[in-house]
Amino acid sequence: MAKENLSQSEQTKNWFGMTQIILEDKKNKLGVTIGPVGVWDQDHIDKLKIASELAGINPVIDCDFTADGKPYAAVPLLGYPNLNKFLEKKDLNWDQKLHLVETCARILEGAHKKGLTHGAFCPEQIFINNKEVFIDGIGFGTGGTPPDSVSKFLAPENTSNITASESADIFSLGKLLEVLSEDEEAPRSLKRLITWSTSENPEARPPSALEFASIVKESLSKKDPYFQAGYIAISEYEELIKTSAESLDKNDEITEQDSIKQNDISFADLKAKQEARRVSSTLVQETDEDLEVVHSNQAENISSKFSDNEPKRGFLLKALGVAAVLLAITFFISSQLNDEDDNNLALDQKTSETEASSSPSTEKEATAKDTKQSDDVSGDSEEFKNTLINSSVVDIADAGLQIVHGIPETEVDVYFDDELIIKGFSSGDVVGPIVNEPGEYKIGFYKAEENPPVAQSDRKDSAVLDSNLKMVDEPVSVIAFVDSFGNISLNSTSTIVSDVAPGKSRVMVHNYTTENSIEVLLNDESFNITNGASSVSEVAAGNTILEIRAENQTLSDEISLLDGELSNIFIYGSGKNKSINLSEIRLSGLDSAPIGIPSGDSGLLEKSKNQDIPAIKIGGLLFILVATGLVLRRNTRVKNEFS
């Protein structure tokens, strides 16, 4: 890219005690936040990487450590107005405000479920593009002193020094709702929610952002969402990263002054690190059992976003693209022709050598870049958006047909009755209800593509899974999984929908692993589930400890269930490969009321009432006698006066 197309500046933000460098081309801006050493650890960096895949979060395009140990993260600098602009212009009506705060709560819930917190959530961090909402700065809120405009939204426990926590984010949500309610007649339930959320005691706040969102949603007059969690195509910034790297490498003048270089970062390095992470992810699996699923998922996500899963273009298209690049280079070179032509040609030669030596990748990466370059063009036509909602509870009356993706490390496009219903369905995710009507349906899984056709019949590649299923008049969950023979299969699981006893919940565990048997520990109860079989247990509402033991691998989790909820736990994967994982579908509405309220055993109330009756009678008689006496006396007086 020509030098004039790329500019960069540096500014320091004291807010987080970190330095931010801005890079921009004609189309996009990218902010790289750097250091200081120790402010983020590797675990935090790992979590930030996950943020790039969550809807509504300004994606972290890359993050890692510099050679001298400073953490950095690159995020798009959004050009959309933040919420303060809308509030200044009073552009939002009451319902839109509520939709907005509900959307923000759901976005934060998604982040919290991935172990990320904001720490400094406020209107400045909320960006709105038409009806899409983005939250910036998730995962950045560690350390530093916030500006005054932010302080009022911060929980009391972190106003002086930002320490991110879920409860602090919920406090900020409460403050946001309070600000949005200032000129409105907020219903009592929301006033109560504000009080609840902004409690000084973090323990006394709502237990989750999802709970907050649910309460707000109940106050909406229009249930159709006005806002939705936004999505940013990272591919649009790929070009900026790439051209930045090339420009930095090519241009000595920029390189010498460039503070990125001073911090030992170049975007060529970032690209190389991403590639290295992808390759090394399998090694991580072997060395760190706890993180293996996270890392493999990250690797899959990073690779899918940056190179491997991009659609292949036709030869003609590639040829045209290459011709265009060559001609553009010719155009550039010819425009620079002057009396010093020879010197410039020597510089170009040197630049080429530098590129070749500095880049750790070979032809393979070059091919990937070429592919990516053509894909960036198609990236502009991105229309499809998945909404990622974590831990949603479905009422049993609406449960219908649910689908669980239990094929490890495989992202797929899902077709239902020949139509595309999900693009990029990741392992472990669930979806549903798809339908509620009994009938026979067809389901197809295909390896995820960038732009999958809407009709299954237009797919040219072979299906990962193509199967028919029958739904009778009861909720059913189907899981796609790898069976013990290594084949990808689809299996239906009926849900036991009878009411549970009052104060109880139901836990069903289904073994779809490749193991012959897995051991399940549910609180203090231990039992084995053979391959393809299920268990059903009723547990007291509240917290239940679940542990799954298979060959070479143990999973454990805590399930917090309300009375009448059903937790459908699907176990899949292989113990030998340490790929066993679980997914939950949670249903509600199986609760029942106590059979009675025995609240008296002595008959004192009846005695009291019986004792009261004579007293009332005597009182009444006395009243009548006195009244009669008074009347008679009055009559006597009147007679005496007339006589």
Binding site: K113, W196, S199, A204, P207, S208, E218, R313, G314, L316, L317, L320, G321, A324, L327, T330, S334, L337, V377, S378, S381, E383, N386, T387, L388, I389, N390, S391, V393, L420, I421, I422, F425, G428, D429, V431, N451, P453, V454, P502, G503, E558, I559, L562, D563, I585, D591, A593, P594, G596, I597, P598, S599, G600, D601, S602, G603, L604, L605, S608
Partner: protein, 195 residues
Amino acid sequence: MSLVKHIVRVTSGALACICFLAAWIPVQVETAGPEFESFAVRSGEIGNSNIKSTPKILKISGINLNAVITPVGVDKDNAFDVPSSDLVGWYQYGSSPGSFGSTVLAAHVDYAGVEGIFFNLQKVKVGQTITIETELGYTEYKVSAVKSYEKTGLPINELFTKSGPEKLQLITCDGEFDKIDRSYKNNLVVTAIPV
């Protein structure tokens, strides 16, 4: 700059533009198609469905009642586990103040030969104020109904509903006392709505 260089520049620039456009058009054709909506995908991670605000103190000034509330569930027979002392029981598996549905509190009218904390609940009148203190503050309710139901006809699912408008239900025993069964035949239900 020579004329040849000018021609080279103009020609190559024009060709570059044409090639870029040519490369662009097929992509647009390829991606155009019917629009479709994705189903909402959610993470399969185990969720967390806890918890709610806990009522602590019940006050009914009209009958000089000031009682401590304790969370309870059901007994071995799946009946409301009404606390046996001078406490008021809150059905912890139901709703709580500030949420949808009915917050249900129950206490004894009498127990083991002594008057229970709800002995005078029958004296509560429509329109009187009831206050519930939680860890977050207090909520005021206004009594909307006082009704005695035969236990066999008690609308129990309605009383314990978790959906619909917020309500407070205070329940104790009432009516004729069966000396053989040692139980009352009715339940008194005081319903109150938030102020």
